[in-house]
């Protein structure tokens, strides 16, 4: 068994191109379509005719915004940025009011306007508090404001806000959707093309030669399956590690769990590949059938788009027979929904069951047909 395994590893090292290509394509597609998940604030150029605004409460609030980067500019600069489409919107800030200057009507323009409005409302609120305090001198008013800001910075008690959602609530995270989707999809190709040599070796008589040796048949299957599993798992490990450690995608603290969960999916795909190899008769048939299986599984299983947007009952029923469905459910459950392990046991069990059934049928067919 070790001998077979070593020979496979040697051939893999000598010709790793399918593996490299599928890994690169997974990373490339996930990166291009899903993005890195890194957050980039939108720049909003603003100008003012009143010098005090920049150092006022309005200026402080705008500069503290996490969502937008307000850049103090001249009127000409604001106009130039808008006309050259470098910014979606800008604003002219006055003492008591402001004017939005919109280059392109986008959803962001409304939110920018709302953010500036909130800053003006906050200033008005502060002014009302100061006025209510009865302080008449400038020093007194400043002392009140400082005290107010100190209190806001160090509140007596904190309020935590939690959102509640029902069981059917759907969270969509594009980065993880594409990362998981393309990883599961391309892993099918890598694994299947590493199981395919069983068919080739049977056709070419290598398998017969090994059967006639003291090596047991179960050792032949185990060596091939373990090798295919490890290559598939290595690919998944590389993809996830690139996203975690190079691109900086946070797996919401569940990177290790994600990797461990993937072992179940890889096992199911190794089994599916065995079944496929047992059903087809030639390499040409395998090459024709594999993309059909992989692409349709990815479409039906929610690798390209979330299953939650699919309305057809027929497609939803089909998805229940598809390992990708449970792979996505498992990964999204762990990372996006932050489910504990016990809530992931259902997809894990289904994938294990699929694995055992597919391997059982696949090996039975191979042995019966003596391919």
């Amino acid at each position: 068994m070790i001998g077979i395994f070593q020979a496979k590893i040697k051939m893999f090292i000598r010709s790793p191109w399918v593996f490299v290509m599928m890994t690169a394509m997974s990373i490339g597609f996930a990166l291009i379509i899903g993005g890195t998940g890194a957050y980039t604030a939108i720049t909003v150029p603003v100008y003012t005719t009143s010098e005090g605004i920049q150092n006022s409460i309005i200026g402080d609030i705008l500069e503290d915004s996490d969502t937008y980067t307000f850049v103090w500019s001249s009127e000409a600069e604001v106009m130039e940025q808008l006309s050259s489409n470098k910014a979606e919107a800008g604003a002219a800030l006055g003492e008591d009011n402001f004017q939005m200057i919109v280059g392109v009507e986008t959803p962001s323009a409304k939110i920018i306007e709302q953010t500036i409005e909130e800053a003006y409302a906050k200033q008005a609120q502060y002014e009302h508090i100061v006025a209510a305090s009865g302080a008449t001198t400038v020093a007194g008013q400043k002392a009140i404001l400082d005290e107010l800001q100190a209190s806001i910075a160090a509140p007596v008690f904190n309020i935590e806000v939690e959102n509640f959602r029902g069981e059917d609530a759907f969270i969509y995270d594009n980065t993880f959707q594409t990362l998981f989707g393309f990883t599961l999809f391309f892993a099918i190709y890598t694994i299947a093309y590493n199981v395919l040599p069983i068919l080739v070796e049977k056709k070419e008589g290598i398998w017969d030669r090994i059967i006639l040796s003291p090596v047991k048949k179960w050792e032949m299957y185990v060596a091939n399956l373990v090798y295919s599993f490890l290559v598939g798992y290595l690919q998944v490990g590389i993809i996830f590690s690139v996203f975690r450690f190079i691109i900086g995608v946070d797996f919401h603290g569940r990177f290790i769990e994600t990797l461990l969960l993937m072992s179940v999916y890889v096992f199911a795909i190794v089994a599916l590949s065995i079944l496929l190899t047992a059903i087809v008769k030639t390499v040409a048939q395998f090459n024709a059938v594999l993309p059909i299986i992989a692409v349709s599984s990815a479409m039906i299983g929610g690798a390209y788009w979330p299953l939650e947007i699919v309305e057809s009952k027929f497609l939803i029923t089909l998805s229940k027979l598809n390992p990708i469905t449970y792979g996505m459910e498992m990964l999204n459950g762990a990372v996006v929904y932050q489910y504990p392990l016990k809530e992931l046991l259902f997809p894990i069990s289904i994938l294990l069951l699929m694995g055992v059934v597919f391997i059982g049928i696949g090996i039975h067919l191979m042995e019966r047909r003596h391919i």
């Binding site: 070790i2 001998g3 077979i4 070593q6 020979a7 040697k10 051939m11 000598r14 010709s15 056709k203 070419e204 008589g205 290598i206 017969d208 030669r209 090994i210 059967i211 006639l212 040796s213 003291p214 090596v215 003596h370």
Partner: protein, 310 residues
């Protein structure tokens, strides 16, 4: 040593091999001869325990190996018709791999690999990837792999198909040497008569799944002792002449190839004047009429009415 008793293999509704009986004694080179599709490969697959027969038995030292093939598998080496090698590995790595699956290791494995590379003449190319080899070199390595664990019985399924004459001679010499120097028993299947005539002590001839003749070379050729084979060559052979041949009651067989016709007639008949008259009547010009020394090819022609490579 090894015996096939009434062995048959049926695929769906067709017999690939039917009621095959043969035996192999230690130290012999046995030839299994027959055209493509005769059932040779199916026969050796059953003989080597790779497929189970539908009927009959394979007996090794008088014990059936159908349910327990382990004793036979220990002593056989099989050279399949296909190039059963890892094309992405080097010659040396292939031999090491197949050596390891036969539990050879360390210095013994290294020595065996060196020895086999020497025997098959690939020592200089040991570190080259197999897919860069010529067809002949691949065939030699294909044989080398089967020799690695020094089997008592080596089964070769058409080991010279599709290679150049030089590599073919090399392989034939290697088989001969293995038999003479290492007393290896060889079962050699081929559809090349001359190979089997050169190598084998005894010959079995198969056609359409049946064993149609067996014995030593001389015994088989004696099948033709009552007949002579005559080769007729002529320009523009026409149907009239061929019809005359078929209609003549003294001519037993007529086999037409492109520019020649082979006929078989009883030894005592003087057919020359008849042939000359037929040629005149059919208005063709004979180039030559030769009596041939009987070959195994002629025996096959006699038994089946077809050439081996048809």
């Amino acid at each position: 040593m090894l015996e096939l008793v009434d062995l048959s293999k049926k695929f769906k509704h067709m017999y690939a091999v039917k009621n095959l009986n043969m035996f192999i004694e230690k130290g012999e080179i046995i030839g299994l001869l027959g055209p493509n599709g005769a059932g040779k490969s199916t026969a050796i697959s059953m003989l080597s325990s790779l497929i189970e027969p539908t009927e009959g038995d394979v007996r090794f030292h008088n014990k059936s190996i159908i349910k327990n093939p382990a004793p036979l598998r220990k002593i056989i080496g099989v050279v399949p018709q296909e190039i059963a090698l890892y094309e992405d590995l080097t010659a040396e790595e292939n031999l090491q791999f197949f050596g390891k699956i036969y539990r050879l290791k360390g210095q013994l494995l290294k020595r065996k690999v060196d020895e086999v590379l020497e025997q098959i003449g690939l020592t200089d190319r040991r570190r080259d990837i197999v897919k860069t080899f010529s067809g002949g070199m691949k065939r030699r390595l294909n044989i080398g792999v089967a020799m690695l664990h020094e089997p008592e019985l080596i089964i070769m399924d058409e080991p010279t198909v599709g290679i150049d004459p030089q590599s073919r001679n090399y392989i034939l010499e290697t088989v001969k040497r293995l038999n003479q120097e290492k007393q290896m028993t060889v079962l050699y299947t081929s559809h090349y008569m001359e190979e089997v005539e050169y190598l084998c002590d005894r010959i079995y001839i198969m056609d359409k799944g049946n064993m149609i003749a067996s014995g030593t070379k001389d015994e088989i050729k004696r099948i033709l002792s009552a007949e002579k084979t005559i080769l007729i060559q002529a320009e523009l052979l026409n149907d009239t002449f061929i019809n005359f041949l078929h209609e003549n009651p003294t001519i037993n067989r007529v086999i037409k190839e492109e520019k020649e016709i082979t006929i078989m007639v009883p030894k005592e008949i003087n057919i020359f004047p008849i042939l000359v008259k037929m040629a005149e009547d059919a208005k063709i010009e004979l180039n030559s009429v030769d009596i041939k020394i009987p070959t195994l090819e002629d025996v096959f022609l006699h038994l089946t009415g077809r050439a081996l490579r048809d």
